[in-house]
């Protein structure tokens, strides 16, 4: 896992670049879900609330909600995932990115897990 990320308890990762946050799910989550076949993402302009449900990740065996790690406005979503949802399994931190959000409140990042805390979480599971 990359070191400059923050994580939610629901296995989303966040990479902050300026006032934008890139969001995806971790390799741990992707592995648990199995082959991902469909990702439903919120539309551009939608306002997200931290920890609210914003989308759906569908695999062959299960359907999982996607939670917003941070409040803000959706400025971009990964259109590659429509045709190639397997990118989430193959490259969850890179080409499998899901959303880009304009951060509404930076202090919310403090509520997220850091690298060590997330590793602890997945170790316990």
């Amino acid at each position: 896992m990359a070191q400059d990320l923050r994580y939610t308890k629901e296995h989303e990762w966040v990479r902050v670049e300026g006032d934008l946050a890139t969001v995806g799910i971790t390799d741990y989550a992707a592995q648990q879900l199995g082959d991902i076949v469909f990702v439903e993402l919120p539309e551009i302009g939608r306002r997200l609330t931290q920890f609210g449900t914003v989308g759906v990740i569908e695999s062959v065996k299960a359907v999982s909600d996607l939670f917003a790690p941070i409040s803000g406005e959706v400025v971009e979503s990964n259109s590659e995932l429509a045709g190639s949802p397997e990118l989430v399994n193959g490259d969850p931190f890179g080409k499998g990115w899901m959303l880009r959000v304009r951060i509404a409140d930076r202090s919310q990042l403090d509520a997220l897990l850091d690298q060590a805390a997330y590793e602890e979480l997945t170790r316990e599971a």
């Binding site: 076949v37 469909f38 439903e40 569908e58 299960a62 359907v63 909600d65």
Partner: protein, 468 residues
């Protein structure tokens, strides 16, 4: 795998394994007052006695009527091949497979059904079927709310009143609203959906519309301006749900050609008997972009690990056995046997046969219109119809009752289902299909003329009064 029932030995072994003394003990949680008690049934009868009793009961059914009833379920000739194939054990008693890919044959029949409905409706995606036309329409309306994230649906009063009621029942659980689009009261297009009213209803900025639902032919038998409805709906960001009758699709424009996003309807006319109201067949279809919103099962075709063609239940995550409260519907089955009947029927008569069925029915309907007009019952509306229309008869409910006593089922007295519409108080909704014969039309017209005349005589002031 043995398919016999459990033996007493099986039962004891299971009870012992879970440490319970008897099966009754498993129901100990249920208060004694609520537990089932012995049923009060008459003593058992032999098969011969029971068959006699049922035969006697069946004798009370009226199967002798000369029928002109349509209104959502239609008389058609069902070729013998349909029943013969349906009776096969593999089809007749087989339950919905929960490891579906084991039953390749079953999946293939559903796939064929979906394919044929796809051809008829012109739509990209067809579900494995729903309970009936009413629930399919309700599901179609719910799809528009999910897809647009809006909460209001407009339903034409030209849609079958039972379908509208069912839609309201489905909506009552969710926070959605269904508003009715009125029909035109006057003019050459009277009885059809009021497009000006629809446009006004779509224009409310406070209450954006998710979907518009219109039937073609309508409940009153009239052809509706579907392409115009599609344009109006789409201009307002709403989806268009077309309620269609499958036999009519052989001669009328298909929902795909006039811009419908979702098509739904009743499949009973395709090889399924009237059977006093069911079981019937709900058809539901949509365009490709809505594939994740369509409820129910979808059967797909793919290849197995050896590269051979195989059928699968696809897009399962839409369904509630995987997605529970976020599923698109509670339906977890389909009308497999009825869908199979429809497929066999369509396969047996083919596209040309279906066109003949529709065209013959339409021709008979024209004869019926003429005969009834001459008998004193002209059409209520003026617009084009296919094989069903409303006629005006003074004191229609009473005339209907008297005709029934004389062996003629004179369609449907519209006052019964549309009590709020005064223009339909004295109307009968009548229908002709390819099985309607000229003799039957003559009997209907003659008997109707007689009853209308009798009604006129009864309403004249008596000679005694007039002379005073």
């Amino acid at each position: 795998m043995a398919y016999g029932p459990h033996t007493p030995e099986d039962r004891s072994a299971m009870l012992e394994a879970i440490g319970v003394a008897s099966v009754d003990e498993l129901f100990a949680d249920i208060p004694a007052a609520l537990r089932a008690s012995a049923l009060k049934l008459p003593p058992p009868e032999s098969e011969a006695e029971l068959a006699g009793r049922l035969h006697h009961l069946a004798g009370r059914n009226r199967v002798d009527l000369v029928s002109f009833l349509g209104a959502g379920a239609y008389r058609h000739y069902v070729p013998a091949v349909v029943d013969q194939l349906l009776l096969r054990g593999e089809f007749y008693t087989a339950y919905t497979p929960y490891q579906p890919e084991i039953s390749q044959g079953t999946l293939q029949t559903i796939y064929e059904y979906q394919s044929m409905m796809g051809e008829l409706t012109g739509m990209d995606v067809v579900s494995a079927s729903h309970y009936d036309g009413a629930t399919a329409t309700a599901e179609g309306a719910l799809m528009t709310c999910r897809a647009t994230r809006r909460e209001r649906v407009l339903v034409s009063r030209g849609v079958h009143p039972h379908y509208r009621q069912t839609l309201c029942t489905y909506f009552a659980g969710a926070d959605f609203v269904a508003d009715e689009i009125p029909l035109l009261a006057e003019g050459p297009a009277s009885g059809t959906t009021d497009l000006a009213a629809l446009e006004r209803m779509l224009a409310d900025p406070e209450r954006p519309v998710a979907g518009v639902v219109v039937a073609n032919p309508s409940f009153l038998g009239l052809l509706e301006p579907m392409a115009k409805v599609a344009d109006l709906a789409h201009a307002a960001g709403a989806l268009f749900v077309a309620v269609v009758e499958p036999v009519s699709l052989a001669v009328l424009a298909s929902p795909a050609t006039y811009g419908a996003d979702i098509a739904c309807g009743e499949g009973q006319p395709l090889g399924i008997p009237l059977a006093y109201g069911g079981p019937y067949l709900g058809i539901l279809a949509c365009r490709e972009p809505l594939v994740r919103q369509i409820p129910g099962r979808l059967v797909g075709m793919t290849t197995d690990v050896d590269g051979k063609r195989a059928f699968v239940m696809t897009l399962r995550a839409r369904e509630q056995d995987i997605r529970r409260e976020k599923a698109s519907s509670n339906i977890c089955t389909n009308q497999a046997l009825c869908a199979l009947a429809a497929s066999i029927y369509l396969g047996a008569i083919g596209p040309h046969g279906l066109r003949d069925v529709a065209a013959l029915g339409a021709a008979r309907a024209v004869e019926l219109e003429r005969a009834l007009a001459e008998a004193g019952a002209p059409r209520v509306h003026r617009g084009p119809y296919l094989n069903e229309f409303a006629v005006r008869v003074p004191d229609a409910p009473e005339v209907h009752r008297r005709l029934l006593a004389r062996g003629v089922l004179a369609g449907l007295a519209l006052a019964a289902v549309e009590p709020d519409d005064p223009s339909l108080a004295d109307a009968l909704l009548v229908c002709a299909t390819e099985v309607t014969t000229p003799d039957e039309i003559e009997v209907f017209a003659w008997t109707l003329r007689d009853e209308i005349e009798r009604g006129r005589q009864l309403s004249l002031p008596s000679l005694g009064e007039g002379a005073r």
